[in-house]
């Protein structure tokens, strides 16, 4: 599979591809990260977050024209996630020399751990998790995958975009009711 095809599948949120990327790069990431003197459990934990960050970047269309390999990009994010996690947990890690990097991996890692969710966001998260499948799907496509109403209509085989619009409004209304109760 070419790197381009790989990115396209990640963009489609394809679970099997995510699993493949995870397995293919896992051992070399662990070997690469060992030099920072972190436990293997912490490395695996950071690696999983890096994979999620990679998939989100693909979904957002930010790596459509990647000018390095997916592996380099993944390792770049992973390295800073490892540091960010260590910093948050007040753990020490070995310093690493700053290298010239194609992307600002540091800011990608930092934004992955944005501010903690506030009370409203926690309520919304809980409410979202208890919605029915259709609502979850529409809202997930719109807010997480960044689909337009037209794209959602195509993807879910709705008759037209007005049906999607009213479905989305109904779901948001349900969600608001849940968090207000």
């Amino acid at each position: 599979m070419s790197e381009h095809q790989l990115i396209l599948l990640l963009k489609k949120s394809d679970k099997e591809t995510l699993k493949m990327v995870y397995i293919e790069n896992r051992d070399s990431f662990i070997n690469f990260a060992r030099k920072f003197k972190v436990s293997e459990n912490d490395i695996v934990d950071a690696y999983q977050d890096a994979i999620i960050a990679l998939s989100e970047k693909a979904i957002q269309g930010e790596i459509d024209c990647l000018n390095c390999s997916v592996k380099t990009y993944l390792f770049g994010i992973g390295k800073y996630i490892l540091f960010e996690k260590a910093r948050k947990n007040h753990k020490k890690v070995t310093d690493f020399p700053l290298e010239k990097e194609d992307y600002n991996y540091k800011s990608i890692a930092e934004s992955f751990f944005e501010d903690k969710p506030n009370r409203l966001e926690l309520l919304l998260q809980k409410g979202f998790a208890s919605l029915g499948k259709k609502c979850k799907e529409v809202l997930r496509l719109f807010y997480y995958r960044g689909f337009t109403i037209d794209e959602i209509s195509d993807k879910l085989n709705y008759k037209d975009k007005n049906v999607v619009k009213s479905q989305k409004s109904r779901c948001i209304k349900q969600l608001k009711e849940k968090i207000n109760n």
Binding site: L120, Q125, A129, Y143
Partner: protein, 205 residues
Amino acid sequence: MEDKEFDKHLKKAITAEERKHQKAYLRAVEKSLNTSKKKFNWRIAAAIIAIIGLSGYFIFGNQSLSNDELYSKYYAPYENVIEPIVRDQVNLSKKAKVFSFYEQGAYKKAIEGFNQLTALDAIDVETITFYKANSYLQLKEFKKAKTLFSQVTKNEQWQTESLWYLALISIKLNDTDAALKYLQQLKNKRTFKNSAVNELIKLLN
């Protein structure tokens, strides 16, 4: 609240929820890798047994696998992909506690827990029923598991997974016709365990 402001919060909430699912999925992948590594030495033993078995197969003729053997060959419990169990976490939510029992193999306790979960615990009824059915299956209470999986097939969320387990239960209960019916439904959908479904259809026919 302004719509834009609400949208921003909702986006963050949905992203957090999605990340939780992705993390649980990757933990399940990681767990499967560790299990397969532990099984490494057994693989050699299994290979030797397979060679002996195959010799027997060719010597004594074409004997097919029994339904019990088929069930054991294809059955694997469904991983917890709902609630990642975070190491060293002290204050687990009610939902996390139940899934922690499930992961540890404490299925009776998990069932008790699933019975008490509601939409207020940020989980939908179908998911609760699906994992409860899996717990019964682990306890070899096939009929109870069957009833619950059948309920779940009415909803798309866990439909293919439930059809797969219903097929395996039918094999275990020696109801080949029913097993073939479920497998055929899965075959038509072509979205879940394609090659295993085709293999089983061949073996059962």
